[in-house]
């Protein structure tokens, strides 16, 4: 039986992680069908049909799907699930909200946030915020899988021409009403998906001093992170928190400034490709995971860092 991919979109276009989820789905079985549920989402459905890994698109339209409410989405997918061995989507807030609702209706034990497909029934997933990896085999007839988008490359986005089939909408769930969505408009990339993250810890000593980090982040086109200690001290709001109880990030470059490297912080960033630590305490645990360590007073090092960046002819964005 084929794999059913749940597309994430904004009614106009696909959200980028749909391409990563499509790659994961195609590693489970080459026969991937994709369902897109929305309101006036024909353009996004067409985009989906152009992914070469997708063999068929199922399009479900209805006014009650406009805001992606899990209570409205789940019944549609549960009905379609009959024809599929696996249901797959991204483990971002969309998929995390939706998939367990589907899994419970199907009486299936979901496998969350996988980072590798070992075989169609066996998957690798991080536990304890990535401090251990578990190999999990699912014995359920139907498998509900969410995938960690940063662990799978996005699939090709053009060249395919899968047929688009209309599927009937299900009834509206009337006990949940969408009110509004406030998208955070920032010139900076989102912490969870940024290529570069610059984070400050308790060593920053005050919220005002975070402007040293902001400057560098702006120069590099980076997101701003923080340790729990900096958040608890009130230097910065906790949506910036990186760590086991905050966000787990996997950027190409992670710069930890004035962060000692508590276990719970390391859990949120140690899979980053390149790690830089700037700390005046040479014994700080952060240096044990750093590719490049600089033992220095951050109040001297950060202005110098900015100067050096200004000297560069080009900076990758």
């Amino acid at each position: 039986m084929a794999v059913l991919l749940i597309a994430e979109h904004n009614n106009k276009e696909l959200r980028p992680f749909t391409l990563n989820a499509a790659t994961a789905a195609s590693q489970i079985d080459s026969d991937v069908h994709a369902v897109i549920i929305g309101q006036n989402s024909a353009d996004a459905a067409k985009q989906l049909s152009e992914l070469p890994v997708v063999k068929k698109v199922l399009s479900v339209e209805g006014a009650h799907y406009e805001n992606f409410t899990a209570e409205n989405f789940a019944p549609v997918i549960v009905k379609l699930a009959e024809n599929y061995s696996h249901i797959v989507c991204s483990a971002n807030t969309f998929g995390k909200n939706l998939m367990p609702r589907i899994a419970a209706h199907l009486d299936t034990s979901q496998v969350s946030d996988i980072i590798k497909v070992i075989s169609p029934d066996t998957f690798l997933r991080p536990i304890y915020a990535g401090n251990a990896f578990a190999t999990i085999k699912s014995n359920d007839a139907k498998k509900c899988i969410t995938i960690r988008p940063t662990s799978f490359d996005p699939c090709e986005s053009t060249g395919g021409s899968a047929p688009i089939e209309k599927v009937d909408a299900s009834e509206e769930f009337s006990n949940t009403k969408f009110i509004k969505r406030e998208e955070i408009k920032s010139d900076r990339p989102e912490l969870g998906t940024a290529r570069i993250v610059v984070s400050g810890g308790r060593g920053m000593q005050s919220g005002d001093n975070f402007k040293l980090i902001t400057e560098i982040a702006d120069k590099l086109g980076a997101a701003i992170g923080a340790s729990r200690a900096a958040v608890d001290a009130g230097y910065i709001s906790n949506d910036h928190q990186v760590g086991q109880t905050g966000k787990v990030v996997v950027p190409d470059l992670y710069i930890a400034v004035g962060i000692s490297g508590a276990i719970q912080h390391l859990a949120g960033m140690k899979e980053s490709k390149v790690i830089v630590a700037i700390n005046k305490d040479g014994e700080a645990p952060i240096f044990s995971v750093a590719d490049y360590g600089l033992e220095a007073d951050l109040f001297e090092a950060l202005p110098q860092f900015m100067e050096e960046l200004n000297k560069l002819n080009t900076i990758q964005k």
Binding site: K96, N97, S109, I127, I184, D239, Y292, E295
Partner: protein
């Protein structure tokens, strides 16, 4: 309004976990355990709603082994009125836990069920959503703000793109994010008082729920270790290495 809050006992977030040498899991013997952090936010919110006069009772429930009762006792110390401990040995999958909680909901008939958005041990992020599916109740996941209005809640949710606000009719499930509130600490007098609050013990086997595992944990291993890095002498060398060696800027 009655609020049921589910809490889980997990390895404390400050403990460096160790993988067992035989690959069967992580070491839990003689390791500091605590309440799952966002479950503390769930309790705090329920108690605040009661203090504001909008709830009449807060009941804390946990599902787990003998010692899991500590998390219920802690909830009682910060303001929950009574507790329920569903006793079961071994580790249950979220599907099984949600089926047990469904039975507790049938019995207690709460108007709201709160819990943390995710447990920091298995990182599954499933139980709340599964429970809402089984009950066919609305779900407000990753809540960072809750306004109680008559028989409705207005909930602000943390989503990847920013914030989303929804209105849900009671009865409903809310899973709580860390940004929801600042959990209070239990005072010594309240810890003493909590010892007298009732905790009902229920054997999971008496609930007529199939909790058999559907997943096999083949092995648990350490994640790949990072290669040892180098120390650079100054900022100029650091920037040069990032530009020309690592090629990331």
């Amino acid at each position: 309004m009655k609020i049921l809050v589910a809490v889980k006992r997990v390895i404390d977030y400050n403990v460096q976990i160790r993988v067992k040498e035989d690959g069967t899991g992580v070491v839990t013997d003689n390791v500091k355990m605590s309440t799952n952090p966002p479950d503390d936010n769930a309790i705090e919110e329920a108690v605040k709603i009661k203090e504001a006069g909008k709830a009449t009772e807060v009941v804390a429930v946990t599902v787990g082994e003998e010692k899991a009762q500590e998390t219920v006792r802690k909830a009682l110390a910060v303001g929950a009125d009574r507790g329920i401990h569903v006793k079961v040995d071994g580790i249950l999958e979220p599907l099984a836990v949600s089926k047990i909680l469904q039975k507790i909901v049938d019995k207690e008939k709460p108007d709201l069920v709160f819990m943390g958005k995710q447990a920091i041990d298995d990182d599954c992020n499933q139980t709340g959503q599964m429970l809402s599916a089984l009950l066919n109740w609305p779900q407000a996941t990753f809540a960072s703000k809750i306004d109680v209005k008559d028989n409705k809640l207005e909930v602000t949710r943390e989503i990847d793109e920013g914030l989303e606000t929804i209105e849900i009719n009671v009865p409903a499930i809310v899973t709580c994010d860390l940004r929801l509130n600042e959990p209070r600490y239990a005072s010594l007098p309240n810890i003493m008082k909590a010892k007298k609050k009732p905790i009902e013990e229920i054997a999971a086997s008496d609930l007529d729920v199939d909790v058999s595992p559907r997943l096999e944990q083949i092995k648990v291993e350490e994640p790949p270790k990072r290669k040892a890095g180098i120390k650079v002498a100054n900022v100029a060398e650091l920037v040069q290495k990032l530009k020309n060696e690592a090629k990331v800027i």
